[in-house]
Structure formats: C-alpha cells, structure tokens
Amino acid sequence: MPDKEAVAARLKSAREHAGLSQGQVAKLLAMSRPSVSEIEAGRRKVSSDEIKKFSDIYNVSIDWLLAVNTGGVDPVVELAARELAKLKKEDLDIVLNLLGSLKRNK
C-alpha cells in the first residue's frame, strides 16, 4: 500500500518541478484549489484516476508518484552533457531528483 504522506509529498514536489501553482493545477485538471491543497497535505484520498492525471501534467511516472521505489533515485542515467564536473552539489541533487521522477520509454 502506498504511504499516503509519501505520495502527498511527491505530488507537491512534482508540481513544483513542473512549474505550476496549486491554482494552475486545479484549473488544468478542473478541480478546486482546496482539493489540490488537501491532497498535497495528505488529508484527502487521491483516486487512481487522479494519480494518472497528475502523472500526465507533471510528466512523472506513476510508480514514482506512488513512492513504489523508495530506495532512492537510480543514479545510472544516459546523459549527453558538457561541463558536468562544474555542477554544484545542490544542483546535482535537483537534476537527479528530476531525472529519477520522469516518465521513461516514451
């Protein structure tokens, strides 16, 4: 069973990384803003249909949203990048979190 708090935290993080406010998500998904807020606070149950919709607008995998793999982000990625050695630790964390959450095999 997915951990409700972990799912709520991932929904919030995915929304922020997608660049959306709660109000914008509510508008895009035709929900009320308090519903989005309640879901992210872990106070309202989120349906499988809603999870699918969140996964689509945030472009993250459903498994990641449901916190199925809680063993941390897979550090093995296939990158083409320049000057990665200059990447600061905090920026690297942002990149790894993002890449670990995204939908794969499109």
Binding site: E16, H17, A18, G19, L20, S21, G23, Q24, A26, K27, R33, Y58, N59, P75, V76, V77, E78, L79, A80, A81, R82, E83, L84, A85, K86, L87, K88, E90, D91, L92, I94, V95, L96, L98, L99, L102, K103, R104, N105, K106
Partner: protein, 282 residues
C-alpha cells in the same frame, strides 16, 4: 584522433535541415525551439540552477536547461541538446564515473553546428538582411542585433554563425562586431538597455512567435496594436516599445505582420510548456 570538422559540419547541417523539414518549416523561417522540441516528442525542463547550461537525458528524452541564462543563450543550448537527441547521444554511465570523464568533443561540436543551422538557416539570415536592404557582408552591430532578435538567438551566436559557418563576414568585420558588447548595443537602442531581455522588431519582422519574459522590452515599429493583459505599450512619439508585464500570451499586430508574444516568468523553474501559463487568482 584529429576530427574532420568539415565532414562533421556537413553532417550536422544536413540533420538540422531534415529536422526542419520534419517540422514542416520553410527553409528561411525562424523556429521556436521549445515548440519544436515538444513536436518532436522531447521534453524541455527549465531548472533554476546556476552551475550548468543544459543537458540531454536519453531514456526520458528530456532536455534540462538552466533558466538562469539570457534568453538567446537558452535557445541556443536547447538547440544544442536537441542535436544530442537527433544523434542519439548519451552514454549509459554511472553519474559519478561520468563526472570524471572528459567531454566528447565530436559530439559537442556536432550539437553546436546542428543548433546553429536549426535556429539560423542561411537562407533565412540572408533574406532578413536582403529584406531590409542591409549589406550582409558589412552589417552594423544594431543590424546584427535586430536579425538575431528575429531568430531568437543571441548577438554572439549570430556573429559566430555568420563568420565561421556561413562565412559571409570576413575576419576583420567579425572582429569589429565582436569588439562591441551586447550591453552597449542594447543601451544604444533603448534607454533601459542594461536589461538582458531586449527584442527588436521592425517593419520587416518575420517570426510568428516572440518568447519574452516579464520585464522584457520589445521595440516595435510605428502603428502597431497590442492584445492581451500580459503586454503593455509604452514610449513616446519618437520610439515605442512593448513591455512584458505578467505571464501569459498576447499579440502584437503590425501593419504587415502579427506575432504571438508568450511572456514567461523570469527564472522560471518547470516544464517549458507551462512557462507562460497565467497566474490564477488564489
């Protein structure tokens, strides 16, 4: 191993033209790089990070770009990363291992040339100068800045492309253009020219979309009208300009052209497709 730059450049130019064809773009038209990536099924995410320009991740077909860079630079980097996508670059490596690995210069060179031709097709650049009756072999800095605006690239990207790839400006002219800073050019065009986001349109403008950020200044020709709450028209009798005031999509309508203006939040972090989404009332 010595790289055969001529061969690589020829390959990258061809690939860029194939991609333009796939996107149903005319050979001379400017391209909106974020729209192009989306149409090609490549996700673009802008990240509020300062220590990298951009990268491409193969499994998720995702381009990450630093939002902390000037607009023109982000556009060129996005084109560069799209080059990595086109060439299927990306090595399956442990990230820690990758950090210690030297960059693959052939791949980077290909991606740079791909980006140059995708964003600045020679026919389009030549036409832009011809339409304005400007000499392409001896342009002034303001003229280069104006054409760069139309193709949404930086002044430096265009001068480099015109000299090294198109070979239409001689070394002496290239040095002259390079000796003038974009900041000095911006200042000569607009009183608040220190702003990074200055876009110059004129009567010959030929791009259907303008990507701007809140705070950007868009110089416009006489007699234009604007639509949309994200824009405001200001200025005096001598010169008029449009300000990006809030995120959203607006429109500039001139006597012979019109363009959609997409105003995004500055230092935006998120999916590129949502960058100009309007704020909602809380």
């Amino acid at each position: 191993m010595m790289l055969n730059y001529r061969k690589l450049a020829s390959s990258a130019m061809k690939e860029a033209m194939i991609v333009r064809e796939k996107l149903n773009l005319q050979l001379e038209s400017p391209i909106s790089i974020y729209d192009a990536a989306e149409k090609l099924g490549v996700e673009v995410i802008l990240c509020k990070v300062g220590s990298f320009e951009g990268m491409y991740e193969k499994n998720t077909k995702t381009i990450l770009l630093s939002s902390e860079r000037p607009e023109g630079r982000k556009v060129f980097t996005c084109g560069h990363e799209l080059g990595h996508w086109r060439y299927d670059h990306g090595n399956r490596l442990d990230l820690k291992e990758y950090l210690e690995k030297k960059q693959v210069s052939e791949e980077e060179y290909l991606a740079d040339i791909f980006s140059s031709y995708l964003l600045m097709p020679p026919w389009g650049i030549e036409k832009a100068f011809r339409d304005r009756a400007w000499k392409i072999e001896a342009p002034s800095p303001v003229q280069v800045f104006t054409v760069a605006s139309q193709f949404a690239v930086s002044y430096e990207s265009l001068t480099t492309h015109m000299h090294f790839n198109m070979k239409c400006i001689a070394n002496s002219q290239y040095k002259i253009l390079n000796s003038v800073s974009p900041k000095a050019i911006r200042k000569s065009i607009h009183p608040s020219g220190t702003s990074q986001s200055l876009i110059v349109t004129d009567a010959f403008w030929a791009s259907k979309t303008i990507d701007a950020t809140v705070g950007a200044v868009i110089i416009v020709p006489e007699g234009i009208q604007i639509e949309g709450e994200c824009l405001s028209l200001v200025g005096n009798d001598d010169k008029k300009w449009v300000h990006g005031v809030t995120p959203g999509i607006g429109r500039i309508i001139g006597s012979s052209w019109s363009a959609f203006v997409r105003v995004s939040r500055p230092s935006y972090h998120g999916r590129a497709r949502f960058r100009h989404l309007e704020e909602t009332e809380e």
